[in-house]
């Protein structure tokens, strides 16, 4: 029985680790300026955690194999672990402690780069509303100014997703509201996230970015996309029955394509 346990645990550990190591299921390619550092941090953690995982399971398997009693086998006295618990305590503290220090030291810089640094000056400003169950995006339009948001005017039936008041607010009249996030490549972008009803979250796996929308708060988020293409933005914060279908496309375009697109949208107003 002990040998069986050891074999099963070993097989499980090795099979699991192999699938991780072969990247059979893995992150999609990164398309952001900051993502490489997150990937590196994740890879380093994967190596360290993977080694700990395999070692831990193998140690368990080995000890069980080695110290199981066979039915009817000779009785032998048990032996204490050499040196008592102290070496294990020291081992765990030093090993895990060093790992924590390294991971925290490097990782907190990565975090700070994404969330604690101001966006580049001249970043493209885009307002985002998350609602049950869609994202809408707003560009300032020709005047470069966003019209003010009035919750009492928000209405899906009239497609007034941002609660704009074009009747009285001239800056709102040229605001471009669309259902996809279209951004120019290699251009720093600042989003301001508004939650219209409940919590939502902004998650683009390829952009290596995720941030909750919180009602009552306006949360800035900035990044730069480096590769043109069409990607998916999905909601990762449970927001109600349509949560699974709350998504939008992120279209990263070249600068001329983006300008052209913006011009076409403005013409529709």
């Amino acid at each position: 029985m002990g040998r069986l346990f050891a074999v099963v645990v070993t097989l499980i550990a090795l099979a699991s680790a192999t699938i991780f190591a072969l990247h059979i299921w893995w992150l999609p390619p990164d398309i952001s300026t900051h993502g490489a550092r997150i990937d590196r941090q994740l890879n380093e953690t994967m190596v360290v955690a993977g080694v700990l995982f395999v070692l831990g399971q193998l140690a368990l398997a080995f000890f069980v194999w080695r110290f199981s009693t066979r039915e009817g086998g000779p009785s032998r006295p048990s032996r204490a672990f050499p040196g008592g618990p102290t070496p294990l305590v020291v081992l765990a503290t030093v090993l895990v402690g060093v790992e924590i220090l390294v991971l925290t030291f490097v990782g907190s810089k990565v975090w700070a780069d994404v969330y604690q640094t101001p966006p580049a000056p001249g970043a493209l400003q885009i307002e985002v509303v998350g609602e049950q169950f869609a994202f809408y995006f707003r560009y300032a339009g020709a005047d470069g100014k966003f019209g003010a948001m009035h919750p009492e005017l928000m209405n899906d039936a009239t497609q007034n997703f941002f609660g704009l008041d074009p009747a009285n607010d001239t800056t709102a009249r040229d605001d471009i509201v669309v259902g996809s996030l279209v951004i120019p490549v290699n251009q720093p972008v600042v989003l301001r996230l508004h939650a219209k009803d409940v919590n939502h979250s902004f998650y683009v796996p390829e952009l290596r970015i995720q941030q909750d929308f919180v009602p009552g708060m306006v949360i800035p988020l900035h990044f730069t996309a480096t590769k043109p293409g069409k990607y998916e933005l999905v909601c990762t914060q449970l927001c109600g029955l349509g949560h699974y279908n709350m998504r939008a496309y992120v279209e990263v375009k070249t600068r001329p394509e983006f300008d052209q697109w913006l011009k076409e949208r403005a013409a529709e107003l």
Binding site: F63, L103, M154, K196, N199
Partner: protein
């Protein structure tokens, strides 16, 4: 007998009913006997776990084959699954109920309230809990809380869909937010508030019993490891549930009384401006996770204790570093209150605090790692006996290590950016608190069943149960890490996004594994029922263990020790001697 100053006689409090009650109702239903109450908790947990598991089967089936009608479900849930096709809101309702039932009514109820009630008083050598009536109240409130929760299936739009974390404002604004967010969500909040009351009363009892009712010679150092774990869990629970309860009260008030604790101004839900202002959604998250993270340890620490108690018995040698183990438990308990923010890295709270919450989260892995190493070190030089209880205890170590290690990714804000809200999280917490705690419960059941019911469980069935479960849970939860790495978002009732399409085959594999693992549990149920009725009669100490419960008959008499409270002369950890008896019982005369 103290003599009052005024000359009036002051006696001890009235006897708390240590004579066995006579009527059937008093003995088996409204009993104040901690053993009956412990069994009642375990029976409740059994009902709850079957319910929770059936819910997860339906969920898993839906995720594998979203458009295939579930046979018969259309009749059971005509609103949520008309024609057997599961609606998104019904999926989320199942998920909410699954999470709530499992976390509260299984993982808290079984290993802590259930086994703790039965064995903590015996472990310390007492006749009963410190406050038997409060103990009984605690159980009945728990049961009522369960019934209130389950009743959400039968009201209006059905159960709530905001998850076991019930984030505000989704949980706070009422039925505008979706089906089930009306009466169903209110019932949820009431149920959890009641559950908090029950657990506070229970924790109070556990602590007072451990502190005050220890028999002669039972110093704190001689407490069995499981009792240490229950004691520390009680302390955690006393603080955690004391925070969740007022939070639930505030939530209920936001829902039914029009207050705005968690609801800010200017919310427009389904085109309706909400009549609230000024509340803070993050306040709910802080209050909830201040409870929620310690709750993880409430679920798992009893498992630590049970495994630490079982492993030495079947390794036939003492637990390595018993004092280190206790210190680590205390360290975990303490640290568990400093880490709640790691659930909120991306919640919009100040990003600086992310790092502050990350460090203690990572530090908590140190005592956890030490404990795992102590278990593995205990195996060194052991003479392992492979009973089912031993296998589940060893399996516990394996799954806990697997689940614990993925915590490294989620504890770091930088990697959490990518993995937060994905199946990686689902894999992590199911391994570390779900499966591991369940293995602790299984180990405890196979270990203590003879003592609780006076009959042995069938070992052959038990071993089949272990092997199939052990392999099954790895097939279910290990692939969820891969899903998470591929960016698969959790809490989705269907995978419509383009990038998720390639992952659907893996979901089907998980579904098949989950249905298989679930079916395997029928072996356990069968074993449980058959052994209770027809198992071989158990001797007092079938496993050659040392703690006090094994010094008394199986099952123990009404007052646990037949009117002769034991005198403790040894620690719980004295194994490995030479000779015909290689262990010393705690109550063995010197």
């Amino acid at each position: 007998m103290a003599q009052g100053k005024g000359g009036r006689a002051v006696t001890h409090g009235a006897a708390t009913g240590h004579a066995p009650a006579q009527s059937f109702l008093r003995r088996h239903v409204f009993s104040v006997d901690h053993k009956v109450i412990g069994r009642q908790y375990l029976d409740l947990a059994l009902v709850a776990v079957v319910t929770g598991m059936v819910l997860s089967w339906i969920m898993r089936f839906h995720l594998g084959w979203p458009e295939t009608p579930v046979p018969g479900l259309g009749k059971l849930a005509p609103t949520g699954a008309a024609g057997g096709v599961i609606t998104p809101e019904f999926y989320l309702a199942l998920m909410t109920m699954h999470g709530t039932i499992m976390v509260f009514f299984v993982l808290t109820t079984a290993p802590f309230a259930g086994f703790g009630n039965f064995f903590l008083p015996i472990h310390v050598g007492a006749e009963d809990m410190a406050f038997p009536r409060i103990n009984m109240t605690s159980f009945w409130v728990t049961l009522a809380a369960f019934l209130v929760l389950v009743s959400a299936f039968f009201v209006g739009d059905g159960p709530p869909l905001s998850g076991w974390t019930a984030y505000a404002p989704l949980s706070a604004v009422g039925k505008d937010a979706g089906p089930g967010q009306g009466v169903g969500q209110t019932l949820w909040a009431v149920s959890i508030a009641m559950f908090c009351v029950a657990q506070l009363l229970g924790s109070l009892n556990f602590i007072a019993t451990t502190l005050d009712l220890r028999t002669r010679g039972m110093s704190l150092a001689r407490l069995p490891f499981a009792t240490w774990a229950w004691f520390i869990t009680s302390v955690i629970g006393l603080v955690a549930f004391a925070v969740l309860m007022p939070a639930c009260i505030l939530l209920i008030l936001d829902r039914v009384a029009g207050t705005s604790f968690f609801i800010p101004a200017g919310l427009v839900i389904s085109d309706r401006l909400q009549p609230h202002a000024g509340g803070s959604p993050l306040l709910w998250q802080h209050l909830f996770w201040f409870f929620g993270h310690p709750e993880v340890y409430i679920a798992i620490l009893p498992g630590f204790g049970i495994v630490s108690q079982i492993l030495p018995v079947f390794a036939r040698k003492p637990l390595l570093g018993p004092r280190v183990f206790i210190v680590c438990l205390i360290a975990i308990a303490f640290l568990s209150y400093t880490v709640w923010g790691h659930h909120m890295f991306l919640s919009g709270m100040n990003p600086v605090s992310a790092t502050l919450f990350s460090v203690p989260t990572l530090v908590i892995t140190i005592p956890a790692t030490i404990i795992c190493l102590l278990w593995i070190g205990t195996l060194y030089g052991a003479r392992l006996r492979f009973t089912t209880a031993a296998l589940f205890a060893l399996g516990f170590v394996s799954v806990f290590v697997s689940g614990g290690i993925s915590g490294f990714f989620l504890a770091q804000p930088s990697t959490d950016i990518y993995l937060h809200g994905t199946y990686f999280v689902v894999a992590h917490f199911h391994f570390v608190m779900g499966v591991a705690a369940m293995f602790g419960i299984f180990a405890g059941t196979y270990f203590w069943f003879p003592k609780m019911f006076g009959r042995m469980m069938n070992e052959t069935l038990g071993k089949w149960h272990f092997w199939l479960t052990f392999i099954g849970v790895y097939c279910v939860f290990m692939p969820m890490h891969y899903l998470g790495l591929a960016g698969n978002v959790r809490r989705y009732s269907a995978f419509t996004d383009d990038y998720l399409q390639p992952l659907i085959p893996l979901h089907r594999f998980i579904t098949i594994a989950a249905l298989f693992t679930g079916a395997v549990q029928l072996i356990f149920l069968f074993n449980l029922i058959r052994s209770r009725l027809r198992g071989p009669v158990a001797p007092a100490n079938p496993w050659e263990a040392t703690t006090l419960e094994w010094s008394t008959s199986s099952p123990p008499p009404h007052d646990n020790f037949g009117g002769h409270p034991p005198v403790v002369t040894h620690g719980p950890n004295e194994f490995g001697g030479v000779g015909p008896q290689d262990y010393v019982m705690q109550a063995e005369p010197r």
